[in-house]
């Protein structure tokens, strides 16, 4: 680490833009097309706009979405560029939607000594619910080592910016589908293979990169889980702990859900065993509003008691939330529960609890096409075939016809042999040139 430079987005983007602009004039084959430049200008303008609307009070919880390694291979640049071009329109639309969707972008590039043959980039996209901040932090070691390298670096940034905006457009859909936060408590958190498969392997959490997270608008809240064994009333069974984050626009979300189960009393054990014997329902409930429980009503979920016991009692909570409201709790066994449910008394009367918090997923946008583009494509395709096919279809008739005509002509005129041959050769040439002319016209 010779030197580490940290630049703000404006300066960096300005540099990047300057370099890109100039490199176009000089020699760079990457940035040839005008439209590409326009696109970049738009992106730049947009990102600076985002930056200007930064809310200083805004909390800065972040989440790594994507960590990738990008190798510096010249061919891949071209590939990347083509992706950027192809998705240009969509990219722009998604950027436009960022206003509503909101996104925090942070990416970090660490340049290895072997640069430029290999460049390691690490891109982190942070999803916040309603704040739009873009932060670009770089760690370069050879920032000042030469204009060429710096230019390439700047270009790299531009492309990563493109990539991120693309990735953000698509990723925002993906992200919400998956669980925003996992909280594992009780038992063996790492042992469950299913749960770890739920987590995206590519995600790596980097708490060191978090902007100061001790801001005042995140608070810890608790709400209780109650259960019902048989026909008795609901009894306290455990406590959920979560962090409630408030955003500058007034929205609130729950994250970092943790759960602690109370141990079963002897009485409850007896009731549970009775439930197991009669294949009854084990019912749980949580308040529908965590701030002022029980809110509108309790959210209830049940499972056949026989689904729960394995070695110990394995349970799985999926909590669907919408801000501070809990829509539904899906409670069930951690694994499968096959139909002829067999009576199985657990060896250990303790719960292994897995909890997942789920938020809403955004619907994919309706595809909108630049109809003209499509029309031109299809239109030319539609026109071409008849043009080509005439010769393609009838050449086998035409050539003999030409021969026959020529033969007839020569016989009729009673000409010498050589002249006739010359004429026929000429005719053939003409006949053969025709398709190529057609082809060129395409």
């Amino acid at each position: 680490m010779n030197r580490t430079g940290s630049l703000t987005i404006q300066t960096l983007i300005a540099i990047a833009f300057w370099f890109t602009w100039h490199s176009r004039n000089e020699q760079d084959h990457l940035v040839k097309q005008h439209s590409h430049n326009n696109l970049m200008m738009k992106i730049l303008a947009f990102s600076s706009r985002i930056f200007n609307t930064r809310d200083p009070k805004g909390p800065n919880y972040s989440k790594t979405l994507m960590t990738t390694q990008i190798k510096w291979i010249p061919q891949r640049w071209i590939l990347l560029k083509s992706i950027v071009m192809a998705l240009g329109i969509i990219c722009m639309q998604d950027l436009a939607s960022l206003k509503y969707g909101s996104l925090m972008v942070r990416f970090k590039v660490r340049i290895k000594p072997a640069w430029p043959t290999a460049i390691r980039g690490q891109i982190e996209v942070m999803q916040l619910s309603k704040v739009s901040i873009a932060v670009l932090r770089t760690e370069t070691r050879e920032m000042a080592k030469g204009s060429r390298r710096a230019r390439s670096l700047a270009l790299f940034f531009l492309f990563t910016l493109h990539l991120i905006s693309i990735a953000a457009g698509f990723q925002s859909d993906e992200l919400l589908q998956d669980d925003e936060e996992f909280g594992l408590e009780g038992g063996r958190p790492a042992a469950d293979p299913e749960l770890s498969s739920l987590a995206r392997p590519a995600i790596r959490r980097r708490p060191d990169l978090d902007l100061p997270s001790g801001s005042s608008d995140s608070k810890s809240i608790q709400f209780s889980l109650e259960h019902q064994l048989g026909s008795s009333g609901f009894l306290l069974a455990g406590t959920f702990t979560a962090r409630l984050k408030s955003w500058s626009n007034g929205g609130q979300t729950l994250t970092k859900l943790r759960f602690s189960r109370n141990t079963l009393t002897e009485e409850e054990k007896g009731a549970f065993e009775r439930l197991l014997k009669e294949d009854g329902y084990y019912t749980i409930r949580v308040p529908s509003n965590v701030l002022n429980p029980p809110g509108k009503d309790y959210v209830i979920s049940s499972v056949r008691a026989r689904c729960i016991p394995r070695e110990s009692l394995d349970e799985h909570f999926t909590i669907h939330t919408d801000g501070v409201n809990i829509l539904a709790v899906n409670y069930g066994s951690a694994g499968a529960c096959h139909y002829p449910r067999l009576l199985r008394i657990p060896a250990k009367w303790s719960f292994n609890s897995y909890t997942v918090l789920k938020n809403s997923e955004q619907a994919p946008r309706t595809p909108t096409f630049a109809e003209e583009l499509l029309a031109v494509d299809v239109g030319t395709e539609g026109v071409q075939p008849p043009e080509r096919s005439f010769w393609a279809k009838y050449w086998m008739y035409l050539i003999p016809l030409v021969f026959i005509v020529l033969n007839a002509v020569t016989q009729a005129m009673n000409m010498p042999e050589e002249q006739a041959a010359g004429q026929s050769a000429q005719g053939q040439q003409v006949a053969q040139r025709a398709p190529s002319a057609n082809a060129r016209r395409r």
């Binding site: 829509l327 809403s360 595809p367």
Partner: protein, 982 residues
């Protein structure tokens, strides 16, 4: 632009070539039928001049305004106004315009009497919804501009009847006035507006007809208040009912002096008790009041003197008066008696003499007379003749003249509540098909004609004959089951409580029955039919019994009023069982279980969430108890925004009745009321058949997540729950849920930012399609969500399948955490949608079509392939072979794919599809105000020959071939012989 047009053209050609299921012109009416109705008539206006005298203008509860032919009952023209545009009053102005006042007095329209074209429309600014009045001054002397007076709340409008322009508008100075009556003085250009202020004050305004100026105003108050019902007796006298509905108050307001006089009804009618109503009728010097047991005509001899003129026993009906001459007015009475219905016409100045007395015999299944409208005509002997339009209890409409029913219309069919399709009886031996085809010669002749038709040799006359043969082909109208399963009975229940069976062949009514349980009675004040279920479908056991249908109703909207059950034989329409339940009906669950007599088990959930099992036999309880642990049900509480799931508990605590079970709440989903509001739900059809579990793509197999317990729920943010445009895109959001109704698990939740309702959805197999409005794009959109089961996704290896090492046959439990993958895609769609349905076929092999009821009351068949989430801009070769259509942003609407072709099913509400026995074909029944039935083949009739297949041509070819074989054989023999001789 040109290129785009070209693209559209090529696309259209492409679609036509691949998908067209359109009809040829001469195929219209072969398999489909269309019936036009108008609904229960509220108002009728006769016209006596010129061509108008053959017509009657009616307005109905279904918001239809129609002109009917008095001779035949056919519709000359009709207009179906919007769902919320209720018609308040109808009248005729200038002798050529039909004037309608609708939407609580805020819209006034004029329609041309001969052809029904709208002449003008005026929107009136009515502050609050209130009682509105339309008054068309009838006999204004010539030379005056005819004004139409409309009052609503405290304002009176006068509009020109020629162009609908507002001539004057008078806002009465007292704001809270409710104008009750408008009348006109004989002598001067003054109109009287009579109204109440609050409940006890009475106000009369004298207003100039020409300018709207208030000439005089007088007020008076009455101690015990008014209930709001009034009847105009003379131009300057009204009779009102007081606040307790126990006395009549006669009010005279001649020359601005108000006289009040109260008369107790019990003084007039000693046996009176209970409720009293004033009948809205304009009599000269008389009024009609309705007490529970009879209708009483009272004559007003002066303010202080009322006397009973006539008493008519219930059930009966009375018309308004019809002026015959200057002094005389006629009115008609219809009275039920044991011998039939008596129809009497009297003049109002002489009640003892009956001008006309006739006795009618009407079908007992039409119930009592509800309303009658009188009209007079000049007989050939220059005397007055009378005819009446009769609205019966089953909402049917008839015209009675000269003691006969001239025509009747089954207009109850405009308000179908629920429908089901039933099989016809099996063909008995001895009834042969050959009866239909008279003889071989006729048969050959028919086919020869058809052959000529297909070879384009037929003359126009012959073409007509072919068409007639086709339409007549009584094959389709027989009362027996056919091989293809096309002939069925559509059993419907109407809002009036009448059950009718329609034949799918031509739509005729096979039988009809007005359910006694759903008729108004003392115990059941306001009964309404809820739904119709298949009660007994004998196939294995009890083959000799006829199938039967269960109709469930309730005594009113309130959830604690008792319900009613009726069981009807579906072949004959005989009511087998009819009972009043002791409990209310909140939810009906047909179970997939039948008892030993093939009666289907039904659970009825009452208001206290107790489940009642029907049929109440020990056999059914035994069967039910075995399956009880696996029975779950759910309820969507739309008002509270909660969905709850329940199971049933054994009846230990409920020993008093062995058919009653307790329910236990298992799960609940609570939507936060500040951000979500339930607007639509949809489930899969109970009897849907899925043929393949897996979807095989070019390089992959995807297993469909097929569960009968999928519930689709759509919620919107409360701000966006109103009409389109009431919310900004930022504050509108639509959430779509897929919920497993056994465990209450949310399988999928997706939000559409900037979208709002109304949402129409259909669920089938493993997908759901829903339609909503996108505020950002200002267009309607349709989204498809397909759900696949990932837990079975690794069963791709053929060897695994062969060796049986797969989990495909393992029972699927809702308690297992599902591992699902969801694919979705949205497309723009041009139309707004009234109803969506999906075709269903016998085995589920045939590809599916969505049937979309468009805003134009037509039904569009759209291939499900267009709503495939796997569509991409450039499908690969293998995807193309699979039939994936290149991605477009909007769904195509091909005019040829309207299954209603040129017809409109006015007021379309529901589309029902039922599979035929023939796999390729589905039967479609659409109803609203009109009925439409057709059968469609989404992938064409690949499993049968078309109806116009020329068997004669086939026969001829075979004969010719056989002949040729013999000829050539003979020739070759001859030749061979000759060669041998050589």
């Amino acid at each position: 632009m040109a290129i785009r047009a070209y693209l559209r053209f090529t696309l259209a050609i492409l679609l036509l070539s691949t998908l067209s299921t359109a009809l040829y012109e001469d195929q219209v009416g072969l398999a489909d039928w269309h019936q036009k109705y108008i609904g229960k008539v509220n108002h009728a206006v006769f016209h006596t001049q010129k061509t108008g005298r053959k017509r009657v203008i009616v307005s109905t509860e279904e918001n239809v305004i129609a002109s009917l032919d008095l001779r035949t009952g056919d519709i000359f023209w009709r207009h179906v106004l919007g769902k919320t545009d209720h018609i308040d009053q109808v009248d005729i102005a200038l002798g050529k315009y039909v004037i309608t006042l609708s939407s609580e007095g805020s819209v006034l329209r004029a329609w041309n009497l001969p052809d029904g074209q709208m002449i003008w429309e005026s929107i009136l600014d009515v502050s609050a919804p209130s009682k509105s009045l339309l008054y068309v001054p009838a006999s204004m002397s010539a030379g005056k501009d005819n004004l139409i007076l409309v009052s609503g709340g405290s304002s009176i409008y006068a509009l020109s009847s020629i162009d609908g322009q507002i001539v004057w508008r008078k806002e009465l100075p007292i704001n809270s006035i409710e104008i009750q009556q408008i009348s006109q003085s004989h002598e001067s250009d003054t109109i009287y507006a009579v109204g109440f202020v609050g409940s006890s004050e009475f106000v009369v305004y004298h207003i100039s007809y020409r300018t709207g100026e208030v000439l005089q105003q007088s007020k008076s108050s009455f101690g015990s208040g008014f209930c709001g019902e009034t009847s105009l007796v003379f131009d300057d006298t009204i009779v009102a009912l007081d606040g307790q509905r126990s006395s009549l108050v006669a009010i005279g307001f001649k020359n601005g002096i108000i006289n009040l006089h109260q008369t107790y009804i019990s003084d007039l009618i000693p046996e009176f008790s209970g409720n009293v109503k004033l009948l809205p009728s304009r009599f000269n010097g008389m009024l009609a009041i309705d007490i529970a047991s009879s209708i009483i005509l009272l004559r007003v001899k002066g303010i202080n003197e009322l006397e009973v003129a006539e008493k008519i026993n219930r059930p009966s009906a009375i018309t308004a008066s019809l002026p015959i001459s200057k002094e005389q007015q006629a009115f008609a009475i219809m009275e039920h008696s044991k011998s039939g219905i008596h129809f009497k016409v009297k003049f109002d100045n002489d009640l003892t003499n009956e001008v006309l007395r006739e006795t009618l015999h009407m079908d007992s299944q039409r119930g009592n007379v509800e309303k009658i409208f009188i009209n007079s005509y000049i007989r050939t002997d220059r005397t007055h003749g009378f005819r009446v339009l009769v609205v019966m209890e089953d909402h049917s409409l008839s015209l009675v003249q000269q003691g006969e029913i001239v025509w009747s219309r089954e207009d109850g069919l405009a308000s179908i509540v629920s429908s089901a399709m039933f099989e016809l009886p099996v063909e008995k031996e001895g009834v042969s098909v050959a009866e239909v085809e008279h003889n071989l010669f006729e048969w050959l002749k028919g086919h020869f004609l058809k052959l000529k038709g297909t070879l384009m040799l037929a003359s126009p006359d012959e073409m007509a004959a072919i068409q007639a043969i086709r339409l007549k082909s009584s094959e389709k109208n027989k009362m027996t089951r056919d091989h293809n399963g096309f002939r069925k009975l559509i059993i419907v229940v109407t809002r009036a409580g009448k059950v009718l069976a329609l034949h799918t062949g031509d739509g005729r009514v096979v039988w009809s029955v007005l359910l006694p349980a759903l008729r108004r009675s003392g115990k059941c004040g306001n009964p309404s039919a809820l739904s119709l279920y298949q009660w007994q479908v004998p196939h294995h056991h009890a083959m000799d019994e006829n199938p039967s249908v269960l109709v469930v109703g309730a005594c009113g909207q309130n959830s604690d009023l008792p319900g009613v059950l009726s069981i009807i034989d579906s072949y004959t329409g005989k009511v087998l069982n009819s009972s009043m339940l002791e409990h209310s009906v909140r939810h009906i669950i047909p179970l997939p279980l039948t008892d030993s007599t093939e009666q289907r088990l039904h659970l009825i959930i009452d208001g206290y969430l107790h489940a009642h099992l029907y049929p109440r036999t020990s056999d059914s309880v035994k069967i039910f108890l075995q399956e009880m642990p696996n029975i779950y049900w759910y309820m969507v509480e739309e008002g509270k925004n909660i969905i709850r799931g329940y199971s049933l508990e054994s009846r230990e605590l409920n020993t008093y009745d062995e058919y009653v079970f307790r329910t236990k709440q298992l799960w609940s989903i609570v939507f936060p009321s500040e951000s979500e509001k339930i607007i639509a739900t949809a489930t899969r059809k109970m009897n849907e058949v899925v043929h393949t579990q897996a979807k095989v793509t070019a390089d992959d197999v995807m297993y469909k997540y097929i569960s009968k317990n999928i519930l689709f729920v759509a919620t919107v943010s409360p701000k966006a729950a109103g009409n389109i445009g009431s919310a900004a895109p930022e504050e509108a959001c639509l959430f779509a849920y897929l919920i497993d109704t056994v465990s209450g698990r949310i399988l999928h939740r997706v939000s559409h930012q900037g979208a709002q309702g109304p949402v129409n959805a259909v669920v089938s197999e493993n997908w759901v399609v829903y339609h909503y409005f996108n505020l950002r794009a200002h267009r309607y959109e349709m989204s498809v969500v397909e759900i696949y089961d990932q837990s079975r996704a690794d069963n791709k290896d053929v060897w695994k399948l062969v060796l049986g090492k797969h989990n495909l046959t393992a029972p699927v439990s809702s308690y297992t955490r599902p591992d699902v993958m969801v694919k979705s895609q949205s497309y723009f769609f041009t139309h707004s949608v009234k109803s969506i349905s999906v075709t269903s076929t016998a085995k589920g092999i045939t590809s599916k079509q969505l049937l979309i009821g468009t805003i134009g009351d037509q039904v569009l068949a759209l291939d499900k392939r267009f709503l495939d989430p796997r569509r991409s801009v450039n499908p690969t070769q293998s995807e193309k072979e699979e039939g994936i259509i290149p991605l477009t942003d909007s769904l195509p609407i091909v005019p040829q794919s309207y299954i209603t072709h040129s017809l409109q099913v006015e007021g379309l509400r529901t589309i029902v599809t039922t599979p035929a026995k023939l796999e390729s074909t589905a039967l479609v029944f659409c109803y609203g105000v009109d009925l439409f039935y057709t059968r469609i083949a989404p992938s064409r009739t690949y499993d049968s020959l078309t109806e116009d297949f020329s068997y004669a041509l086939l026969l001829l070819t075979i004969v010719a071939l056989v002949a040729a074989i013999f000829v050539t054989w003979a020739l070759s023999e001859k030749k061979e012989l000759r060669e041998k001789w050589r």
